[in-house]
Symmetry: C2
Subunit: 94 residues, 2 copies
């Protein structure tokens, strides 16, 4: 495996973890008002496209890495719907 290959795998591994800090922050703070729902909707649809692409190419790396990002995107969509609503109720009652 060349240095270029290693760089590619390292970059791919980090890409997989990009959404993790947002998931952890939102889980801790229970607030997602400023987070874009559309960003994670686009990401989720996009990950499904990548997973289908990986399946057609029979490329397990593409399937697995995108499955991780899909899981995080779906988690963020869930958080956004849950804590977005809370935010509205809070604003109405104060």
């Amino acid at each position: 495996m060349s240095g270029v290959d290693i760089l590619g795998y390292a970059a791919g591994a980090i890409t997989t973890l990009t959404f993790l800090p947002q998931v952890l922050k939102t889980y801790k703070e229970k607030s997602a008002k400023d987070v874009s729902l559309n960003m994670f909707l686009i990401a989720a649809i996009n990950e499904v496209m990548w997973i289908v692409y990986g399946a057609l190419r029979e490329d397990m790396v593409i399937i697995l890495t995108n499955a991780v990002v899909l899981l995080m995107s779906l988690t963020m969509i869930f958080f956004k719907l849950k804590y977005g609503r809370k935010e509205i109720i809070k604003q109405k009652t104060t």
Copy 2:
């Protein structure tokens, strides 16, 4: 170009635009309290890795797509630092 190729290019094009809704939302609302700075710091470092990888592979598609995402990540880092600070001042004065 096969159907699989077209799916791959379409998925890649959408990936490039993933951060755009967040950039537009934050620009409009001038608030980024709930947005994770770490997410965009990781994304920016990761994009630089992909651009170097693309340059070493002499792959213009990888270079260009990741340059677009890097630009959006740097914009979000700028917004987060700008509107994060505003948020703290607002909380202190109210």
